[in-house]
């Protein structure tokens, strides 16, 4: 019996060796095939008097990206498409969070910083101190969705004031009837993303924007959005919020609340069209990349950023986000071409500018 067992283990070991043994072979095989492709497509390219056909590039180099974990899937998607055309370029995309990304960016450890919010005045100062200059480019929209249980028949639309009553600390409503007398006298269960997430930050900024206001601290907080989905789906008297991509994945279990736009007083659902047209305000947020100008003379970085802008609208939809209007992408490209250094979201006095993207993203708002 022992002997038999021993043989079994030997077999396992052999398997492991076989698996690891295959490793280098397969990788060399794939690299061989890519180089073979490159060389074989070379003459093909020269025959067709190539004017930018899909010829494999001989460009190489390393591009380092860090920042928001929300933007990382978009950058990863762009990277994936990019390296098909430029196989020798290495693109490292890390998603350590917007704040950590800017810390690396200030230390000149990265070429590009992903951000799910505009740069803050403090981070801008740190960049100036270290001589880091950047170009700010919005790449996509993320819509923040307020969700309730599908059996919730009393809430269809909500205003910011009603949300304030529920979410802001101090005056918080314990029961639904505290918000609106017509609603049931049942306790409200709240599910929200963790305090470390950009989503929480963004929600707090919109709802608790006053002096000394903060979100109530008796919410069920969780960094895992799947748990939030389950939480809201499991309780008729619950409410929650998270990124639109998560709502799209679990539409059958949840109901999205229409949010009344404070500008025109109409309620809008977080649909792709409403987010893109900025009607779903103020809960649609732009996502950015910040490109270091010191890196732009490098051919691989310039090509990658170019490629990013060309493909991001299509790719961001594939990974669950909403594309930006064409004119904003065009404006970002213009900034890149003209090397328009600085941010649009901090004014000359060092105060933060808030408001919709389209209103702020203008040449006259640019602060170096």
């Amino acid at each position: 019996m022992k002997r038999f067992l021993g043989n079994g283990f030997l077999a396992c070991l052999v398997c492991l060796v076989a698996v690891t043994g295959c490793g280098p072979k397969t990788t060399t095989a794939t690299t061989d095939s890519t180089t073979a492709e490159a060389t074989s497509s070379d003459p093909a390219g020269s025959d067709s008097a190539g004017s930018g056909t899909a010829e494999v590039s001989n460009m190489s180099g390393t591009i380092k990206i860090n920042g928001s974990s929300t933007v990382a899937p978009i950058s990863d998607a762009v990277r994936e498409k990019f390296i098909k055309q430029y196989p020798n370029v290495t693109v490292n995309v890390d998603g350590a969070g917007t704040g950590n990304g800017f810390k690396d960016f200030q230390k000149k450890a990265t070429d590009i910083s992903d951000a799910s919010r505009p740069i803050k005045p403090g981070e801008l100062d740190a960049c100036r101190e270290n001589g880091v200059q950047f170009i700010e480019i919005p790449v996509a929209y993320d819509g923040l969705t307020i969700v309730v249980h599908p059996d919730n028949d009393w809430v269809k639309t909500m205003t910011i004031e009603q949300l304030k009553k529920i979410f802001v600390a101090g005056s918080e409503a314990k029961k639904w009837s505290d918000v609106d007398a017509a609603w049931p006298a049942e306790e409200i269960n709240i599910f929200a993303p963790g305090t470390g997430s950009g989503t929480y930050d963004y929600f707090r900024e919109v709802v608790a924007d006053g002096e000394g206001e903060s979100l109530r601290n008796d919410m069920n907080l969780n960094e895992d959005d799947n748990i939030l989905v389950q939480g809201v789906a499991g309780n008729k008297y619950s409410i929650g919020f998270f990124g639109v991509a998560y709502y799209e994945e679990s539409k059958d279990k949840l109901k999205a609340v229409e949010i009344v736009n404070p500008e025109d007083g109409t309620a809008y659902l977080p649909t792709t069209e409403n987010i893109a047209s900025n009607k779903y305000a103020p809960f649609s947020r732009p996502l950015f990349i910040y490109v270091s100008t010191a890196s732009l003379p490098r051919a691989e970085v310039a090509t990658f950023v170019d490629f990013y802008l060309e493909n991001v609208s299509e790719l961001c939809e594939k990974v669950g986000y909403v594309r930006l209007p064409e004119e904003i992408i065009a404006k970002g490209r213009e900034n890149l071409d003209n090397e328009a250094i600085g941010t649009h979201f901090v004014d000359a006095e060092g105060n933060k500018r808030s408001g919709p993207l389209a209103a702020n993203f203008k040449a006259e708002n640019l602060t170096k």
Binding site: K2, G6, G8, F9, L10, C12, L13, C15, L16, T20, G23, T26, T27, S46, A49, G50, G52, E55, S57, N58, M59, S60, G61, T62, K64, S69, P73, D76, R79, E80, I83, Q85, Y86, V91, N92, V93, D94, G95, A96, K107, K108, A109, D111, E223, D225, N226, G243, Y246, E249, A294, S295, P297, R298, A299, E300, T303, L315, K318, V319, G320
Partner: protein
């Protein structure tokens, strides 16, 4: 209650009662003890089965979630954002093996050496005793330190190296490159997507402006002449010529070609730094298990060796280590099993990046490891990624199982000799 008291009193006053045992009481007592023993046995079996049950529930639920994704593409492909269906974990498997290889190479000699020092070279004077006691105390403490703390340690020691060798900055400094790096200026040619490489002569000069014809190299290292096109004059049309022509005033940035033995200080976010950090995590485990193994070698063997005139080193080399090897290897492989499953220190040292198409290409390359990939996949909103995470967990479990089986096999094999 009063009966017991009375009996105790009777016992104390009359030793005769001891001579005449209370048979009825003894029979009752014996039954009660046997019943307790039986209950304890059932409790132990229950507890043992509970731990197995938890494992079974875990395996079944993971297996149920992940079975649909267990296919060859999981083992051969890389993580993909655009074709989630086709995502795989091959680079992560390679990365984990590379990180664990570094970890084993660093931790095993250090750990076994420390264990030999502590067990075989017993202190002979007061100062040596103090050193021994100090080392022993620290190792016992280190075994209980959470692994994320080691991650922070690894970040300062291996990734940044206390900034002694300068900081790595994208457009300014590569740190101290010792071997395996060649620098080129990369300039865009007139042909779209194609570049020319010009060897870099002065490492301080990070940019080059091309104003006159110069000499570059192609992919095979052969020299090629590079022509200049001045805007305003007719552009060459032949693609071969366009590939060798750059616009006048074009700027080239520095790129680094790295050989596989590329070595640089500080290590930065490389699999080497991750492996060394993991070595710190498992070092106390290896030391303690090796100590146990050495301690279990019969003292008579040592005495016989010394009696024949062997020095301490000869005794360790020829007697103690061979006898203790099965135990040492088992401990080391179980520690490697822990290392391969660690996510926290790797997240601190390498970051959470998972998009990498290959295993590490050079000594300073980053790596994706299996636990980090699972961590990333399980937090995604797409159902496919969560199923993939479950499938990846199964693969990781199988690899761990193979490692543990290897440990058992080695122990059996060595005990036979």
């Amino acid at each position: 209650m009063s009966k017991v008291k009375a009996r105790a009193a009777a016992k104390a006053s009359t030793p005769k009662a001891l001579a005449e045992p209370d048979l009825e009481y003894q029979a009752r007592n014996s039954k009660r003890r046997e019943a307790t023993s039986r209950w304890f046995y059932v409790l132990c079996v229950g507890i043992a089965l509970l731990s197995v049950l938890i494992l079974v529930v875990l395996l079944v639920s993971i297996g149920y979630q992940g079975q649909s994704r267990l296919r060859p593409s999981l083992l051969t492909n890389a993580h993909s954002e655009l074709e989630i269906e086709q995502s795989g974990m091959w680079p992560a498997i390679l990365g984990s093996l590379a990180v664990c290889g570094v970890c084993a190479l660093a931790a095993m000699p250090l750990g076994i050496g420390t264990a030999i020092f502590l067990e075989e070279f017993k202190p002979t004077n007061k100062i040596a005793r103090m050193i021994h006691g100090f080392v022993q105390l620290n190792i016992s403490n280190l075994a209980g330190v959470p692994s994320i703390v080691y991650g922070l340690l690894g970040l300062t020691v291996f990734v940044y190296m206390f900034n002694v060798f300068g900081q790595i900055k994208v457009n300014e400094s590569n740190g101290w490159e010792i071997v395996g790096a060649e620098h080129y200026y990369q300039v865009l040619s007139l042909e779209r997507g194609q570049v020319v490489m010009i060897p870099q002569a002065d490492p301080e000069q990070r940019q080059l402006t091309v104003t006159e014809p110069t000499v570059g190299v192609d992919a095979d290292g052969n020299e090629v002449s590079i022509a200049i096109w001045e805007p305003g004059t007719p552009k060459p049309t032949d693609p071969e010529v366009r590939k060798r022509t750059v616009r006048k005033g074009a700027i080239g940035g520095t790129i680094t070609e790295r050989a596989w033995y590329y070595f640089r200080l500080p290590f930065d976010k490389s699999f080497l730094a991750a492996g060394l950090t993991l070595a710190l995590v498992i070092l106390p485990i290896i030391i303690i298990s090796s100590q146990e193994a050495l301690r279990s070698v019969s003292p008579s063997l040592r005495e016989a060796s010394s009696g024949l005139g062997a020095t301490t080193w000869q005794t360790v080399r020829n007697v103690c280590l061979p006898a203790a090897l099965p135990g040492v290897m088992t401990g080391a492989i179980l520690a490697m099993g822990r290392a391969i499953g660690e996510a926290a220190p790797i997240l601190v040292v390498l970051g959470a990046a998972v998009a990498k198409g290959t295993g590490p290409q050079n000594m300073m390359d980053t790596a994706v490891t299996m636990p980090v990939l699972i961590f990333n996949w399980s937090g995604r909103q797409q159902d496919e990624f969560r199923e993939l995470a479950a499938a990846a967990i199964i693969v990781l479990l199988i690899i761990l199982l193979i490692l543990n089986s290897a440990a058992i096999y080695i122990r059996h094999k060595m005990q036979q000799h």
